[in-house]
């Protein structure tokens, strides 16, 4: 437990010190949102609720793929070797997943606020929408962390990561869009219960798999 906490702290400090990575991600999100704002709102002002929702999740997905792709590239491989001797592989992957989760949560909340401001507001039930954001960040971070680890060993890491992760994230994003649509329509909580449990189940499976498979990954 203490190992995990220290590793997360290390990552957070590193992120705050080399601010260019977090700034890149925020700027990526802001410029994408602004692009959507210009193309949908300024010209025609037509963006129906369904497109609004899907567009937001697609923006979030690509921001997540971009940001998680950095999780093994920030430091040199020599430094990684050093961490592997200090902590077990399980602690390292869990710390990375939790750190990515926090990062994505901050990013998605920020993006959500901006999205509401720029592209109009269709949400009836903020509580459920926030649950969708939290579960989405958890799901994205847990699958993307391991996949980023795999992709970081190839020459063309960012391209490979996109190819590997998009089909795997598709069922998750499908459920998330359904859940957040429920939140937009203001359905009762019990109507969304099934979706929440399914997403949570997928998240748990992916975290457990990452934990089991990472020891084989870091050997190479």
């Amino acid at each position: 437990m203490k190992e995990i906490k220290n590793l997360i702290w290390k990552d957070i400090k590193l992120e705050l010190r080399q601010q260019n990575t977090i700034n890149t991600m925020v700027l990526f999100m802001v410029s994408t949102l602004f692009l959507c704002y210009i193309s949908f709102m300024l010209r025609t002002n037509t963006l129906d609720a369904l497109t609004w929702n899907t567009l937001f999740w697609i923006i979030l997905l690509f921001s997540a793929v971009n940001s998680a792709g950095n999780s093994f590239r920030k430091e040199t491989s020599g430094r990684h070797l050093y961490y592997y001797q200090l902590a077990g592989p399980g602690a390292i992957i869990l710390a990375k997943i939790i750190f990515n989760f926090l990062l994505l949560l901050v990013l998605s909340l920020l993006g959500f606020g901006l999205y509401l401001a720029l592209l109009g507001n269709h949400v009836a039930d903020y509580g459920v929408y926030l649950i969708a954001l939290v579960l989405g960040s958890l799901g994205f971070s847990s699958s993307l962390t391991l996949l980023a680890g795999i992709a970081s060993k190839t020459d063309n890491a960012s391209g490979v990561l996109a190819v590997l992760s998009l089909p795997i994230l598709l069922p998750l994003i499908n459920m998330l869009i359904k859940l957040s649509k429920n939140a937009m329509d203001g359905l009762e909580f019990s109507a969304s219960y099934d979706e929440i449990m399914t997403i949570f189940g997928i998240d748990l499976i992916v975290i457990a798999l990452s934990y089991l498979l990472f020891p084989y990954l870091w050997k190479s």
């Binding site: 699958s143 391991l146 996949l147 795999i150 060993k153 190839t154 020459d155 063309n156 490979v160 190819v163 590997l164 998009l166 089909p167 795997i168 598709l170 069922p171 499908n174 459920m175 099934d194 399914t198 189940g201 997928i202 499976i205 992916v206 798999l209 498979l213 084989y216 990954l217 050997k219 190479s220």
Partner: protein, 218 residues
């Protein structure tokens, strides 16, 4: 002879299921009519695909445990043949769907699931192609294979059951196989087994070619 018997069995079962699949009696069902015979060809594709994917998974796990490069070759070739069966299942399904549902590609969660599944396994081969070092390729693609399998299974087995689907057994439709009578089952199960055996045979030939190539290259 001991080692070959299953190949003969596979060929015999396939021959049996094709001949009696076209000639055998089928019950009259609304909409389905004679197209119900497609069940002998469409459904076994998925069984064969699943069986090959599971074999691929088992060999990937074996590789990660023991680190023998042969296991990786087995895993990759089983995955390659499973993709072929996936595509065949998709095509036969399109043909069948055109005559029963009136559309080559209806909006159906199972179809989407399979399209995603084919994308996932295509990504597996992209990943394999991006390594030169064979041990590293084996280890990383093995990890991805396990990860991909685990995320593909809920996609085909759980998610379609939560939403409406045109396929039997989902969304309030009667369970799988309820349209078949006892005579059809006598052909259907041998067809499934036959296609699984043929798939394994194709994969084993590919594995042998790969292994021979490996030895020549060394």
């Amino acid at each position: 002879m001991k080692k070959y018997w299953w190949k003969f069995l596979g060929a015999a079962l396939l021959l049996f299921s094709v001949i009696f699949g076209f000639l055998g009696e089928t019950p009259r069902r609304e909409i389905l009519n004679e197209t119900i015979r497609m069940v002998y060809f469409h459904v076994p594709m998925w069984f064969a695909m699943m069986a090959l994917m599971v074999s691929s998974l088992v060999y990937s796990v074996q590789y990660l445990k023991k680190g023998n490069i042969r296991d990786d070759i087995y895993a990759s070739q089983f995955a390659a043949v499973s993709i072929v069966f996936g595509i065949l299942g998709f095509l036969t399904g399109m043909l069948w769907g055109n005559y029963t549902w009136g559309d080559w590609l209806p909006k159906d969660p199972k179809l989407i699931a399979v399209e995603v599944g084919l994308l996932i396994y295509a990504a597996y081969f992209i990943l394999r192609g991006s390594f030169d070092d064979e041990q590293r390729r084996a280890r990383l693609s093995g990890i991805y294979n396990i990860f991909a399998f685990a995320s593909f299974m809920p996609l085909v087995w759980i998610l379609p059951r939560l939403t409406d689907s045109l396929h039997p057994g989902n969304g309030g439709n009667p369970a799988f196989g309820s349209d078949m009578d006892a005579k059809m089952r006598m052909i259907f199960y041998p067809a499934v087994l036959g296609w699984i055996l043929i798939g394994t045979w194709i994969a084993s030939l590919r594995i042998r070619i790969k292994l021979i190539n490996e030895t020549i290259n060394e």
